[in-house]
Protein backbone atom coordinates (compact mmCIF):
# COMPACT_ATOMS: atom_id res chain seq x y z
CA UNK A 1 0.00 0.00 0.00
CA UNK A 2 1.51 3.28 -1.09
CA UNK A 3 0.56 6.53 0.63
CA UNK A 4 1.51 9.60 -1.35
CA UNK A 5 3.48 12.21 0.58
CA UNK A 6 2.09 15.76 0.53
CA UNK A 7 5.18 17.17 -1.24
CA UNK A 8 4.79 14.63 -4.06
CA UNK A 9 1.12 15.49 -4.35
CA UNK A 10 1.91 19.21 -4.52
CA UNK A 11 4.41 18.67 -7.34
CA UNK A 12 1.80 16.57 -9.12
CA UNK A 13 -0.74 19.37 -8.64
CA UNK A 14 1.31 21.74 -10.75
CA UNK A 15 1.62 19.15 -13.52
CA UNK A 16 -2.06 18.35 -13.40
CA UNK A 17 -3.08 22.01 -13.39
CA UNK A 18 -0.93 22.65 -16.43
CA UNK A 19 -2.29 19.56 -18.18
CA UNK A 20 -5.83 20.70 -17.59
CA UNK A 21 -5.32 24.37 -18.42
CA UNK A 22 -6.52 23.65 -21.97
CA UNK A 23 -9.55 21.94 -20.49
CA UNK A 24 -10.18 25.07 -18.37
CA UNK A 25 -10.81 27.22 -21.40
CA UNK A 26 -13.33 24.74 -22.83
CA UNK A 27 -15.02 24.27 -19.47
CA UNK A 28 -15.28 28.05 -19.00
CA UNK A 29 -16.95 28.37 -22.38
CA UNK A 30 -19.36 25.58 -21.49
CA UNK A 31 -20.16 27.23 -18.14
CA UNK A 32 -20.72 30.60 -19.85
CA UNK A 33 -22.97 29.01 -22.50
CA UNK A 34 -24.98 27.14 -19.87
CA UNK A 35 -25.43 30.35 -17.83
CA UNK A 36 -26.61 32.18 -20.95
CA UNK A 37 -29.00 29.37 -21.83
CA UNK A 38 -30.37 29.22 -18.28
CA UNK A 39 -30.95 32.97 -18.26
CA UNK A 40 -32.71 32.81 -21.61
CA UNK A 41 -34.93 29.91 -20.58
CA UNK A 42 -35.84 31.66 -17.32
CA UNK A 43 -36.79 34.82 -19.25
CA UNK A 44 -38.87 32.81 -21.70
CA UNK A 45 -40.55 30.86 -18.95
CA UNK A 46 -41.27 33.84 -16.76
CA UNK A 47 -44.72 34.32 -18.21
CA UNK A 48 -46.41 31.99 -15.68
CA UNK A 49 -49.49 29.83 -16.08
CA UNK A 50 -52.26 30.95 -18.42
CA UNK A 51 -55.55 31.83 -16.75
CA UNK A 52 -57.31 28.57 -17.56
CA UNK A 53 -54.36 26.59 -16.19
CA UNK A 54 -54.25 28.80 -13.10
CA UNK A 55 -57.93 28.14 -12.45
CA UNK A 56 -57.37 24.42 -12.95
CA UNK A 57 -54.43 24.38 -10.50
CA UNK A 58 -56.51 26.25 -7.92
CA UNK A 59 -59.44 23.83 -8.19
CA UNK A 60 -57.04 20.86 -8.02
CA UNK A 61 -55.60 22.39 -4.87
CA UNK A 62 -59.09 22.54 -3.40
CA UNK A 63 -59.54 18.82 -4.13
CA UNK A 64 -56.29 18.19 -2.30
CA UNK A 65 -57.00 20.44 0.69
CA UNK A 66 -60.45 18.96 1.24
CA UNK A 67 -59.11 15.39 0.98
CA UNK A 68 -56.37 16.13 3.51
CA UNK A 69 -58.87 17.82 5.79
CA UNK A 70 -61.06 14.70 5.58
CA UNK A 71 -58.11 12.48 6.53
CA UNK A 72 -57.39 14.65 9.57
CA UNK A 73 -61.04 14.72 10.57
CA UNK A 74 -61.27 10.93 10.32
CA UNK A 75 -58.20 10.61 12.50
CA UNK A 76 -59.73 12.96 15.06
CA UNK A 77 -62.86 10.80 15.18
CA UNK A 78 -60.74 7.70 15.75
CA UNK A 79 -58.40 9.55 18.17
CA UNK A 80 -55.41 8.74 16.01
CA UNK A 81 -53.86 12.20 15.89
CA UNK A 82 -52.82 15.07 18.15
CA UNK A 83 -54.78 18.28 18.53
CA UNK A 84 -51.59 20.31 18.12
CA UNK A 85 -50.97 18.74 14.71
CA UNK A 86 -54.58 19.31 13.62
CA UNK A 87 -54.44 22.95 14.72
CA UNK A 88 -51.12 23.73 13.01
CA UNK A 89 -51.56 21.73 9.81
CA UNK A 90 -55.23 22.67 9.65
CA UNK A 91 -54.19 26.32 9.81
CA UNK A 92 -51.90 25.79 6.78
CA UNK A 93 -54.65 24.06 4.82
CA UNK A 94 -57.31 26.58 5.72
CA UNK A 95 -55.01 29.49 4.78
CA UNK A 96 -54.27 27.81 1.47
CA UNK A 97 -58.00 27.36 0.74
CA UNK A 98 -58.46 31.07 1.37
CA UNK A 99 -55.49 31.86 -0.87
CA UNK A 100 -56.93 29.75 -3.70
CA UNK A 101 -60.27 31.56 -3.32
CA UNK A 102 -58.47 34.90 -3.56
CA UNK A 103 -56.61 33.79 -6.69
CA UNK A 104 -59.82 32.60 -8.32
CA UNK A 105 -61.46 35.89 -7.42
CA UNK A 106 -58.57 38.13 -8.55
CA UNK A 107 -57.58 36.39 -11.79
CA UNK A 108 -59.41 37.34 -14.96
CA UNK A 109 -61.03 33.98 -15.57
CA UNK A 110 -62.05 33.08 -19.18
CA UNK A 111 -65.78 33.78 -19.72
CA UNK A 112 -66.74 30.11 -20.04
CA UNK A 113 -65.26 29.42 -16.57
CA UNK A 114 -66.86 32.27 -14.64
CA UNK A 115 -69.69 30.22 -13.14
CA UNK A 116 -67.33 27.40 -12.18
CA UNK A 117 -64.87 29.86 -10.64
CA UNK A 118 -67.70 31.31 -8.55
CA UNK A 119 -68.67 27.82 -7.42
CA UNK A 120 -65.03 27.05 -6.64
CA UNK A 121 -64.72 30.20 -4.52
CA UNK A 122 -67.79 29.14 -2.52
CA UNK A 123 -66.33 25.65 -2.19
CA UNK A 124 -63.00 27.06 -0.97
CA UNK A 125 -64.78 29.05 1.70
CA UNK A 126 -66.75 25.97 2.84
CA UNK A 127 -63.63 23.80 2.90
CA UNK A 128 -61.70 26.41 4.89
CA UNK A 129 -64.66 26.78 7.28
CA UNK A 130 -64.89 23.03 7.95
CA UNK A 131 -61.14 22.79 8.58
CA UNK A 132 -61.37 25.77 10.93
CA UNK A 133 -64.12 23.93 12.84
CA UNK A 134 -61.74 20.98 13.28
CA UNK A 135 -59.09 23.35 14.63
CA UNK A 136 -61.48 25.11 16.97
CA UNK A 137 -63.06 22.06 18.56
CA UNK A 138 -61.00 18.98 17.76
CA UNK A 139 -62.46 17.09 20.75
CA UNK A 140 -66.03 17.27 19.41
CA UNK A 141 -66.08 13.92 17.67
CA UNK A 142 -69.61 14.21 16.34
CA UNK A 143 -68.71 17.51 14.67
CA UNK A 144 -65.43 16.00 13.41
CA UNK A 145 -67.36 13.12 11.81
CA UNK A 146 -69.71 15.53 10.07
CA UNK A 147 -66.77 17.61 8.84
CA UNK A 148 -65.03 14.48 7.54
CA UNK A 149 -68.07 13.57 5.45
CA UNK A 150 -68.50 17.12 4.14
CA UNK A 151 -64.82 17.46 3.25
CA UNK A 152 -64.85 14.12 1.40
CA UNK A 153 -67.90 15.29 -0.55
CA UNK A 154 -66.32 18.66 -1.40
CA UNK A 155 -63.11 16.99 -2.48
CA UNK A 156 -65.05 14.84 -4.92
CA UNK A 157 -66.97 17.89 -6.11
CA UNK A 158 -63.78 19.88 -6.70
CA UNK A 159 -62.25 16.90 -8.51
CA UNK A 160 -65.24 16.77 -10.86
CA UNK A 161 -65.00 20.51 -11.40
CA UNK A 162 -61.27 20.27 -12.18
CA UNK A 163 -61.96 17.60 -14.78
CA UNK A 164 -64.46 19.88 -16.45
CA UNK A 165 -61.97 22.76 -16.87
Amino acid sequence: MRRHEPSVVRADDAKATARFSTVDLGVRRVVASVCLLVGLVMCLGGCGLDRRQQALVSVEQLTSIAAEGALMADDLVRQRTTTTFVRVHGDELSAQALHEAEKLNDDSIPADLTARARAAIKLASEIGGAIDELRTSPQDRRQDGRDAAKLRHWSAEAYKMANSI
Binding site: M1, R2, R3, H4, P6, V9, D12, D13, K15, A16, T17, F20, S21, V23, D24, V27, R28, V31, V34, V38, V41, M42, L44, G45, G46, G48, L49, Q53, L56, V57, E60, Q61, T63, S64, A67, E68, A70, L71, M72, D75, R78, Q79, R80, T81, T82, T84, F85, R87, V88, H89, E92, L93, Q96, S155, Y159
Partner: protein, 406 residues
Protein backbone atom coordinates in the same frame (compact mmCIF):
# COMPACT_ATOMS: atom_id res chain seq x y z
CA UNK B 1 -15.48 0.01 18.25
CA UNK B 2 -13.88 2.43 15.77
CA UNK B 3 -15.75 0.61 13.01
CA UNK B 4 -19.09 1.00 14.79
CA UNK B 5 -18.47 4.65 15.64
CA UNK B 6 -17.29 5.33 12.13
CA UNK B 7 -20.43 3.80 10.68
CA UNK B 8 -22.31 6.62 12.36
CA UNK B 9 -20.77 8.89 9.72
CA UNK B 10 -22.58 6.83 7.10
CA UNK B 11 -25.81 6.83 9.06
CA UNK B 12 -25.64 10.61 9.48
CA UNK B 13 -24.94 11.03 5.78
CA UNK B 14 -27.80 8.63 5.01
CA UNK B 15 -30.50 9.97 7.28
CA UNK B 16 -29.47 13.57 7.85
CA UNK B 17 -28.02 14.01 4.41
CA UNK B 18 -29.76 11.60 2.11
CA UNK B 19 -33.17 12.00 3.67
CA UNK B 20 -33.36 15.75 4.03
CA UNK B 21 -36.10 18.25 3.35
CA UNK B 22 -35.54 17.72 -0.39
CA UNK B 23 -36.44 14.05 -0.07
CA UNK B 24 -39.34 14.74 2.27
CA UNK B 25 -40.83 17.22 -0.20
CA UNK B 26 -40.01 15.78 -3.64
CA UNK B 27 -40.54 12.10 -2.87
CA UNK B 28 -43.89 12.69 -1.20
CA UNK B 29 -45.01 14.78 -4.17
CA UNK B 30 -43.64 12.20 -6.62
CA UNK B 31 -45.53 9.36 -4.92
CA UNK B 32 -48.79 11.34 -4.82
CA UNK B 33 -48.54 12.37 -8.48
CA UNK B 34 -47.05 9.28 -10.11
CA UNK B 35 -47.51 6.49 -7.55
CA UNK B 36 -44.59 4.03 -7.82
CA UNK B 37 -43.46 5.01 -11.27
CA UNK B 38 -40.58 7.21 -10.05
CA UNK B 39 -39.01 4.62 -7.73
CA UNK B 40 -36.37 4.00 -10.39
CA UNK B 41 -35.19 7.59 -9.92
CA UNK B 42 -34.44 6.81 -6.26
CA UNK B 43 -32.47 3.72 -7.30
CA UNK B 44 -30.55 5.73 -9.88
CA UNK B 45 -29.79 8.49 -7.37
CA UNK B 46 -28.67 5.98 -4.73
CA UNK B 47 -26.28 4.17 -7.10
CA UNK B 48 -24.90 7.49 -8.33
CA UNK B 49 -24.27 8.81 -4.81
CA UNK B 50 -22.68 5.48 -3.80
CA UNK B 51 -20.35 5.61 -6.84
CA UNK B 52 -19.27 9.22 -6.32
CA UNK B 53 -19.18 9.20 -2.50
CA UNK B 54 -17.01 6.06 -2.61
CA UNK B 55 -14.66 7.83 -5.02
CA UNK B 56 -14.52 11.01 -2.95
CA UNK B 57 -13.92 9.00 0.26
CA UNK B 58 -11.18 7.03 -1.51
CA UNK B 59 -9.57 10.21 -2.87
CA UNK B 60 -9.69 11.72 0.64
CA UNK B 61 -8.16 8.60 2.21
CA UNK B 62 -5.40 8.13 -0.40
CA UNK B 63 -4.42 11.70 -1.30
CA UNK B 64 -5.57 13.46 1.85
CA UNK B 65 -7.61 15.85 -0.29
CA UNK B 66 -11.30 16.66 0.24
CA UNK B 67 -13.59 17.29 -2.74
CA UNK B 68 -13.27 21.06 -2.92
CA UNK B 69 -9.50 20.88 -2.97
CA UNK B 70 -9.87 18.49 -5.91
CA UNK B 71 -12.34 20.79 -7.69
CA UNK B 72 -9.93 23.74 -7.60
CA UNK B 73 -6.97 21.62 -8.57
CA UNK B 74 -8.63 19.89 -11.48
CA UNK B 75 -10.81 22.64 -12.89
CA UNK B 76 -8.45 25.58 -12.37
CA UNK B 77 -8.98 28.78 -10.41
CA UNK B 78 -11.69 30.36 -12.56
CA UNK B 79 -13.98 27.37 -12.85
CA UNK B 80 -13.12 26.58 -9.24
CA UNK B 81 -14.41 30.03 -8.29
CA UNK B 82 -17.64 29.49 -10.26
CA UNK B 83 -18.09 26.14 -8.52
CA UNK B 84 -17.33 27.73 -5.14
CA UNK B 85 -19.85 30.54 -5.70
CA UNK B 86 -22.52 28.09 -6.90
CA UNK B 87 -21.79 25.72 -4.04
CA UNK B 88 -21.95 28.46 -1.39
CA UNK B 89 -25.21 29.82 -2.78
CA UNK B 90 -26.83 26.39 -3.01
CA UNK B 91 -25.58 25.46 0.46
CA UNK B 92 -27.06 28.66 1.84
CA UNK B 93 -30.45 28.14 0.17
CA UNK B 94 -30.48 24.51 1.29
CA UNK B 95 -29.46 25.47 4.84
CA UNK B 96 -32.26 28.06 4.96
CA UNK B 97 -34.71 25.41 3.74
CA UNK B 98 -33.50 22.91 6.37
CA UNK B 99 -33.68 25.46 9.21
CA UNK B 100 -37.14 26.50 8.01
CA UNK B 101 -38.11 22.83 7.79
CA UNK B 102 -36.90 22.17 11.34
CA UNK B 103 -38.95 25.17 12.50
CA UNK B 104 -42.07 23.89 10.71
CA UNK B 105 -41.69 20.46 12.32
CA UNK B 106 -41.20 22.06 15.74
CA UNK B 107 -44.35 24.08 15.12
CA UNK B 108 -46.28 20.90 14.24
CA UNK B 109 -45.06 19.44 17.54
CA UNK B 110 -45.44 22.47 19.83
CA UNK B 111 -47.75 25.01 18.12
CA UNK B 112 -45.73 28.13 18.82
CA UNK B 113 -45.35 30.98 16.32
CA UNK B 114 -43.26 29.94 13.34
CA UNK B 115 -40.90 32.94 13.71
CA UNK B 116 -40.09 31.84 17.27
CA UNK B 117 -39.58 28.27 16.09
CA UNK B 118 -37.16 29.41 13.37
CA UNK B 119 -35.09 31.27 15.94
CA UNK B 120 -35.24 28.31 18.34
CA UNK B 121 -34.20 25.84 15.60
CA UNK B 122 -31.28 28.00 14.46
CA UNK B 123 -30.02 28.68 18.00
CA UNK B 124 -30.33 25.00 18.99
CA UNK B 125 -28.39 23.90 15.91
CA UNK B 126 -25.64 26.47 16.45
CA UNK B 127 -25.27 25.49 20.11
CA UNK B 128 -25.14 21.79 19.26
CA UNK B 129 -22.49 22.34 16.59
CA UNK B 130 -20.49 24.70 18.79
CA UNK B 131 -20.39 22.60 21.93
CA UNK B 132 -20.89 18.96 20.87
CA UNK B 133 -17.92 17.08 19.38
CA UNK B 134 -18.11 15.83 15.79
CA UNK B 135 -18.88 12.20 16.64
CA UNK B 136 -21.51 13.35 19.15
CA UNK B 137 -23.23 15.36 16.41
CA UNK B 138 -23.17 12.28 14.17
CA UNK B 139 -24.80 10.20 16.87
CA UNK B 140 -27.44 12.75 17.90
CA UNK B 141 -28.75 13.34 14.39
CA UNK B 142 -27.94 9.96 12.86
CA UNK B 143 -29.60 7.82 15.51
CA UNK B 144 -32.56 10.08 16.25
CA UNK B 145 -33.15 10.48 12.51
CA UNK B 146 -33.70 6.73 12.40
CA UNK B 147 -37.23 7.44 13.71
CA UNK B 148 -37.97 7.97 10.02
CA UNK B 149 -37.89 4.17 9.74
CA UNK B 150 -41.58 4.53 10.61
CA UNK B 151 -42.07 5.24 6.89
CA UNK B 152 -40.54 1.88 5.99
CA UNK B 153 -42.80 0.09 8.47
CA UNK B 154 -45.78 2.15 7.29
CA UNK B 155 -45.02 1.36 3.63
CA UNK B 156 -45.23 -2.37 4.41
CA UNK B 157 -48.24 -1.93 6.71
CA UNK B 158 -50.19 -0.15 3.96
CA UNK B 159 -49.93 -3.29 1.82
CA UNK B 160 -48.64 -1.83 -1.42
CA UNK B 161 -49.19 -3.53 -4.75
CA UNK B 162 -45.79 -5.29 -4.88
CA UNK B 163 -46.11 -6.04 -8.58
CA UNK B 164 -46.67 -2.36 -9.41
CA UNK B 165 -43.94 -1.40 -6.97
CA UNK B 166 -41.45 -3.72 -8.71
CA UNK B 167 -42.45 -2.25 -12.06
CA UNK B 168 -41.72 1.21 -10.68
CA UNK B 169 -38.11 0.19 -10.10
CA UNK B 170 -37.62 -0.17 -13.85
CA UNK B 171 -36.97 3.17 -15.60
CA UNK B 172 -39.96 4.29 -17.61
CA UNK B 173 -41.07 7.42 -19.38
CA UNK B 174 -44.53 8.94 -19.15
CA UNK B 175 -43.82 11.63 -21.74
CA UNK B 176 -44.91 14.49 -19.50
CA UNK B 177 -42.67 17.39 -18.47
CA UNK B 178 -44.05 17.14 -14.94
CA UNK B 179 -42.88 13.53 -14.70
CA UNK B 180 -39.42 14.55 -15.93
CA UNK B 181 -39.37 17.44 -13.43
CA UNK B 182 -40.07 15.11 -10.52
CA UNK B 183 -37.54 12.58 -11.83
CA UNK B 184 -34.92 15.35 -11.83
CA UNK B 185 -36.04 16.43 -8.34
CA UNK B 186 -35.86 12.90 -6.90
CA UNK B 187 -32.42 12.26 -8.46
CA UNK B 188 -31.20 15.77 -7.56
CA UNK B 189 -32.22 15.47 -3.93
CA UNK B 190 -30.53 12.05 -3.68
CA UNK B 191 -27.19 13.28 -4.99
CA UNK B 192 -26.95 16.81 -3.61
CA UNK B 193 -23.32 18.00 -3.82
CA UNK B 194 -23.20 19.10 -0.18
CA UNK B 195 -23.44 15.45 0.88
CA UNK B 196 -20.20 14.63 -0.89
CA UNK B 197 -18.40 17.78 0.33
CA UNK B 198 -19.40 16.82 3.85
CA UNK B 199 -18.56 13.16 3.44
CA UNK B 200 -15.06 13.66 2.05
CA UNK B 201 -14.21 16.43 4.51
CA UNK B 202 -15.50 14.19 7.30
CA UNK B 203 -13.12 11.49 6.07
CA UNK B 204 -10.22 13.93 6.41
CA UNK B 205 -11.48 14.98 9.84
CA UNK B 206 -11.57 11.30 10.83
CA UNK B 207 -7.99 10.95 9.45
CA UNK B 208 -8.81 8.14 7.05
CA UNK B 209 -5.90 6.36 5.39
CA UNK B 210 -5.70 3.59 2.79
CA UNK B 211 -6.46 1.18 5.65
CA UNK B 212 -9.96 2.67 5.72
CA UNK B 213 -10.81 2.00 2.08
CA UNK B 214 -12.89 -1.12 2.80
CA UNK B 215 -14.62 0.74 5.58
CA UNK B 216 -15.33 3.55 3.10
CA UNK B 217 -17.02 1.08 0.73
CA UNK B 218 -19.12 -0.48 3.50
CA UNK B 219 -19.95 2.95 4.86
CA UNK B 220 -21.28 4.43 1.63
CA UNK B 221 -23.04 1.27 0.56
CA UNK B 222 -24.83 0.66 3.87
CA UNK B 223 -25.47 4.32 4.61
CA UNK B 224 -26.83 5.36 1.26
CA UNK B 225 -28.78 2.15 0.69
CA UNK B 226 -30.50 2.76 4.04
CA UNK B 227 -31.19 6.32 3.00
CA UNK B 228 -32.46 5.10 -0.37
CA UNK B 229 -34.84 2.59 1.21
CA UNK B 230 -36.30 5.31 3.44
CA UNK B 231 -36.53 7.57 0.45
CA UNK B 232 -38.41 4.91 -1.53
CA UNK B 233 -40.66 4.29 1.50
CA UNK B 234 -41.72 7.96 1.40
CA UNK B 235 -42.84 7.46 -2.20
CA UNK B 236 -44.69 4.23 -1.37
CA UNK B 237 -46.55 5.73 1.62
CA UNK B 238 -47.50 8.75 -0.45
CA UNK B 239 -48.61 6.55 -3.36
CA UNK B 240 -50.83 4.51 -1.03
CA UNK B 241 -52.31 7.33 1.03
CA UNK B 242 -52.37 10.44 -1.14
CA UNK B 243 -52.51 9.35 -4.79
CA UNK B 244 -55.98 7.76 -4.58
CA UNK B 245 -57.36 10.95 -2.97
CA UNK B 246 -55.68 13.32 -5.49
CA UNK B 247 -53.76 15.08 -2.70
CA UNK B 248 -50.88 17.29 -3.89
CA UNK B 249 -48.54 17.41 -0.89
CA UNK B 250 -47.19 20.89 -0.37
CA UNK B 251 -46.40 20.83 3.35
CA UNK B 252 -44.22 18.83 5.70
CA UNK B 253 -47.41 18.24 7.67
CA UNK B 254 -48.78 16.30 4.70
CA UNK B 255 -45.72 14.05 4.70
CA UNK B 256 -46.28 13.41 8.43
CA UNK B 257 -49.98 12.70 7.79
CA UNK B 258 -48.88 9.72 5.65
CA UNK B 259 -47.27 8.01 8.67
CA UNK B 260 -50.33 8.90 10.78
CA UNK B 261 -52.57 7.00 8.37
CA UNK B 262 -50.64 3.82 9.13
CA UNK B 263 -49.94 4.10 12.85
CA UNK B 264 -52.05 6.95 14.21
CA UNK B 265 -50.60 9.41 16.72
CA UNK B 266 -47.52 7.23 17.40
CA UNK B 267 -46.74 7.14 13.68
CA UNK B 268 -47.24 10.89 13.48
CA UNK B 269 -44.94 11.65 16.41
CA UNK B 270 -42.20 9.29 15.19
CA UNK B 271 -42.42 10.80 11.71
CA UNK B 272 -42.14 14.34 13.11
CA UNK B 273 -39.26 13.38 15.40
CA UNK B 274 -37.44 11.66 12.53
CA UNK B 275 -38.03 14.65 10.26
CA UNK B 276 -36.76 17.06 12.91
CA UNK B 277 -33.46 15.22 13.30
CA UNK B 278 -33.12 14.46 9.58
CA UNK B 279 -33.50 18.11 8.58
CA UNK B 280 -31.43 19.17 11.60
CA UNK B 281 -28.63 16.78 10.55
CA UNK B 282 -28.85 18.03 6.99
CA UNK B 283 -28.63 21.63 8.26
CA UNK B 284 -25.42 20.75 10.09
CA UNK B 285 -24.04 19.13 6.93
CA UNK B 286 -24.97 22.15 4.80
CA UNK B 287 -23.40 24.66 7.19
CA UNK B 288 -20.24 22.58 7.46
CA UNK B 289 -20.13 21.96 3.71
CA UNK B 290 -20.25 25.69 3.05
CA UNK B 291 -17.50 26.34 5.60
CA UNK B 292 -15.42 23.39 4.34
CA UNK B 293 -15.71 24.57 0.73
CA UNK B 294 -14.64 28.13 1.47
CA UNK B 295 -11.85 27.15 3.87
CA UNK B 296 -10.46 24.50 1.52
CA UNK B 297 -10.59 26.85 -1.45
CA UNK B 298 -8.97 29.72 0.44
CA UNK B 299 -6.41 27.49 2.15
CA UNK B 300 -7.57 28.31 5.68
CA UNK B 301 -7.26 26.01 8.66
CA UNK B 302 -10.47 24.02 8.84
CA UNK B 303 -12.12 21.21 10.72
CA UNK B 304 -14.49 20.54 13.55
CA UNK B 305 -11.77 18.54 15.33
CA UNK B 306 -9.58 21.61 15.57
CA UNK B 307 -10.01 23.94 18.50
CA UNK B 308 -12.11 26.97 17.57
CA UNK B 309 -9.19 29.34 18.03
CA UNK B 310 -7.07 27.17 15.72
CA UNK B 311 -9.59 27.44 12.86
CA UNK B 312 -11.29 30.79 13.57
CA UNK B 313 -12.27 31.61 9.98
CA UNK B 314 -13.81 28.15 9.51
CA UNK B 315 -15.86 28.60 12.70
CA UNK B 316 -16.85 32.13 11.72
CA UNK B 317 -17.92 30.92 8.24
CA UNK B 318 -20.42 28.35 9.48
CA UNK B 319 -21.73 30.81 12.07
CA UNK B 320 -22.26 33.39 9.28
CA UNK B 321 -23.97 30.71 7.21
CA UNK B 322 -26.47 30.11 10.00
CA UNK B 323 -27.01 33.84 10.48
CA UNK B 324 -27.73 34.33 6.75
CA UNK B 325 -30.01 31.29 6.66
CA UNK B 326 -31.89 32.68 9.64
CA UNK B 327 -32.35 36.01 7.87
CA UNK B 328 -33.64 34.24 4.72
CA UNK B 329 -36.25 32.13 6.52
CA UNK B 330 -37.33 34.94 8.83
CA UNK B 331 -38.41 36.90 5.72
CA UNK B 332 -41.36 34.50 5.58
CA UNK B 333 -40.28 32.60 2.49
CA UNK B 334 -41.87 29.14 2.32
CA UNK B 335 -39.21 26.52 3.22
CA UNK B 336 -40.88 23.95 0.96
CA UNK B 337 -40.69 26.34 -2.00
CA UNK B 338 -37.10 27.12 -1.05
CA UNK B 339 -36.35 23.39 -1.01
CA UNK B 340 -37.59 22.99 -4.56
CA UNK B 341 -35.28 25.76 -5.76
CA UNK B 342 -32.37 24.36 -3.73
CA UNK B 343 -32.79 20.87 -5.20
CA UNK B 344 -33.17 22.10 -8.77
CA UNK B 345 -30.18 24.47 -8.54
CA UNK B 346 -28.15 21.70 -6.87
CA UNK B 347 -28.94 19.51 -9.85
CA UNK B 348 -27.51 22.21 -12.13
CA UNK B 349 -24.21 22.17 -10.20
CA UNK B 350 -23.81 18.38 -10.24
CA UNK B 351 -21.27 18.10 -13.10
CA UNK B 352 -19.01 20.77 -11.59
CA UNK B 353 -18.82 18.75 -8.39
CA UNK B 354 -18.55 15.23 -9.72
CA UNK B 355 -16.32 15.62 -12.79
CA UNK B 356 -13.21 16.56 -10.79
CA UNK B 357 -13.84 13.67 -8.36
CA UNK B 358 -14.05 11.26 -11.27
CA UNK B 359 -10.94 12.69 -12.95
CA UNK B 360 -8.86 12.41 -9.79
CA UNK B 361 -10.17 8.95 -8.84
CA UNK B 362 -9.10 7.59 -12.24
CA UNK B 363 -5.70 9.29 -12.22
CA UNK B 364 -2.87 6.95 -11.14
CA UNK B 365 -0.61 9.96 -10.46
CA UNK B 366 -2.70 10.73 -7.40
CA UNK B 367 -4.31 7.45 -6.57
CA UNK B 368 -1.46 5.00 -7.18
CA UNK B 369 -2.70 1.44 -6.88
CA UNK B 370 -6.06 2.68 -5.54
CA UNK B 371 -7.06 4.23 -8.85
CA UNK B 372 -10.52 3.41 -10.30
CA UNK B 373 -10.82 -0.04 -11.85
CA UNK B 374 -12.65 -0.68 -15.11
CA UNK B 375 -15.98 -1.06 -13.31
CA UNK B 376 -15.42 2.18 -11.38
CA UNK B 377 -14.57 4.09 -14.54
CA UNK B 378 -17.49 2.71 -16.53
CA UNK B 379 -19.94 3.43 -13.70
CA UNK B 380 -18.36 6.84 -13.09
CA UNK B 381 -18.66 7.99 -16.70
CA UNK B 382 -22.09 6.45 -17.13
CA UNK B 383 -23.46 8.28 -14.11
CA UNK B 384 -21.62 11.45 -15.03
CA UNK B 385 -23.43 11.49 -18.40
CA UNK B 386 -26.75 10.90 -16.62
CA UNK B 387 -26.03 13.70 -14.14
CA UNK B 388 -25.05 16.00 -16.99
CA UNK B 389 -28.46 15.32 -18.56
CA UNK B 390 -30.17 15.96 -15.22
CA UNK B 391 -28.19 19.18 -14.81
CA UNK B 392 -29.07 20.51 -18.26
CA UNK B 393 -32.75 19.56 -17.94
CA UNK B 394 -33.32 20.89 -14.41
CA UNK B 395 -34.00 24.59 -14.99
CA UNK B 396 -35.87 24.26 -18.31
CA UNK B 397 -38.17 21.70 -16.64
CA UNK B 398 -38.70 23.95 -13.65
CA UNK B 399 -39.71 26.77 -16.00
CA UNK B 400 -41.91 24.60 -18.24
CA UNK B 401 -43.77 23.01 -15.32
CA UNK B 402 -43.91 26.28 -13.32
CA UNK B 403 -42.05 24.65 -10.45
CA UNK B 404 -44.05 21.44 -10.62
CA UNK B 405 -47.43 23.20 -10.59
CA UNK B 406 -48.67 21.86 -13.94
Amino acid sequence: MKMVLGLALGILAAIGGFVDIGELVFNTQAGASFRYSLLWAVVLGVIAIIVFAEMSGRVAAVSGRPVFDVVRMRMGLNVGLVTLAASLLINLITLAAEVGGAALVLQLLLNFKVGTMILLAAIALVLIIYFVPFDGIERIFGYMGCALLIYLVAAIHLKPDWHQLARGLVPSWSGSALYAYFAVGVIGSAIAPYEVYFYSSGAIEDRWTVKDLNFNRVNVTLGFVLGGILSAALIVVSAEVFAPLHVSPGYLGTTALGAEQAYGAIGLLLALLGMLFAVGGAAVECAFSGAYSLAQFAGWEWGKYRRKRDAPRFTLTWLIFFALALVIVETGVDPVQLTEYAVIFSAVALPLTYLPVLLIARDPTYMGEHVNGIVGNVLGWMFFVILLGVSLAAIPLMVITHGGAS
